[in-house]
Symmetry: C2
Subunit: 222 residues, 2 copies
DNA sequence: ACAAAAATAAAAGTATTACTTTCATTTTCA
DNA sequence: TGAAAATGAAAGTAATACTTTTATTTTTGT
């Protein structure tokens, strides 16, 4: 992966661009580690400030509140998935292979060493698995959607559903299937970690999630 | 529906059984209406007390906190779905029809008039659509799972995955498919309400969700 | 019908959270 | 080097999520 690449996040999500300063990057880097450790409920800007030897009020100069910080991290994650999807299907012509690899890119878990700058993707992936629903399941969804906070997710759905249509243009539910794969992969990771008896997994890894969604997709489309 | 039926909720979820007293039933009835109106984040026992002309401290004698109340409501919802599922497939012999109707029971939205006692199922369904993830996506999942708080959901998954296996005993992912249907139906309802451009729906109702999951299931299993 | 027990209500108190404000200090960079 | 911008320290505020105490009402057994 190209470590000099930067993902662009909608401007109105932050007050000051955290990728533009050292403190900002420390906020991103350590908020991921801290939220992964103690969960979004227990996480406060005060604790984060302590962790990075900075100050509560300084963090508030980057993000309005922890919800906006989470929105930033979630957008970053979707942007990163989009990048992985595009990168892994680039230059391929066979439509089945493209779709198959796209599903792999989405459902495979990040590895420790494929780090993208100062972001710990493994920890971020864990955060998304555990917290992503809370981000849009609020009373303010509609307003936040109007503000364009979820635009990267939308782009990802559009892209994946287009690959689905490229493969089978008669299929009636391309966007629903795209959502099923993207959100389902996260959900099944969660089940795998906390409710193993609610899954059909008998190995340690999450290979079965990839297989499941590939099987489902091609059974549906073929 | 039999209006004298009562759903049994695990005892350790509540301090005092809310179905056992008038105040308790008012707590359930109006918490559903209030949470639906203002969302779980804005909901407090103080506001609920005001609504039902009772007192904050009295509500705390029924539930330890609002999280436990939500756990109660979610359990009630899963229990109710289980009841609908069993009721709608009772006495049928054809396995395809059983599975098909089971999916209908799960993915069809409740109607105003099929009220079960003092519970407003339409409002409860809305709450579940908007809040159900928050209930188990916490740092305490594992502990709460140990306490048996999610037992009704487990029973529902077991039941649905058994119907899937009854129809096709070779299928390798019955539990994952059961989860996909149950949680996916809720998720797609949410998308339909707040992100219509992320769905493939061109009508007002949610028929397409049922059709989608039935198509998906039988394409996978046939 | 009545006393004891249980349930409920009212009010006040506490610790924490999620910020905001003000002002001082440090860093940046033109 | 000096002005502007960024950061830090500390104190303040309103709301939340409870807990506690005490008073009042309701229920229940006899």
């Amino acid at each position: 992966m190209l470590s000099s690449l930067t993902l662009t996040i909608p401007e109105n999500i932050y007050i000051k661009d955290p990728q533009s300063s050292k403190l900002g990057r420390r906020i991103l880097e350590f908020s991921i580690i801290l939220i992964d450790k103690i969960g979004i409920e227990g996480f406060t800007f005060k604790k984060l400030a302590l962790e990075i030897q900075s100050n509560e009020s300084s963090i508030y100069r980057y993000f309005e509140n922890k919800h906006m910080l989470m929105l930033y991290l979630v957008s970053w994650y979707w942007g990163w998935l989009e990048y992985k999807l595009v990168f892994s299907t680039n230059n391929l012509t066979d439509k089945k292979e493209v779709l198959c690899r796209a599903i792999s890119a989405i459902t495979e878990n990040p590895k420790k060493d494929e780090s993208f700058g100062f972001i710990d993707e493994v920890a971020l992936h864990q955060i998304i698995i555990h917290e992503y629903s809370k981000i849009f399941q609020t009373k303010d969804v509609d307003e936040e959607n109007q503000n364009g906070y979820f635009i990267i997710y939308r782009r990802l759905i559009d892209r994946l559903s287009q690959l689905i249509l490229d493969y089978n243009s008669d299929f009636k539910f391309p966007k629903m299937l795209a959502n099923t794969i993207l959100q389902g992969a996260l959900k099944h990771n969660f089940l795998n970690q906390h409710f193993p008896h609610l899954t059909d997994n008998n190995q340690q890894n999450c290979e079965h999630i990839k297989i499941y969604f590939q099987t489902l997709t091609f059974k549906l489309l073929d």
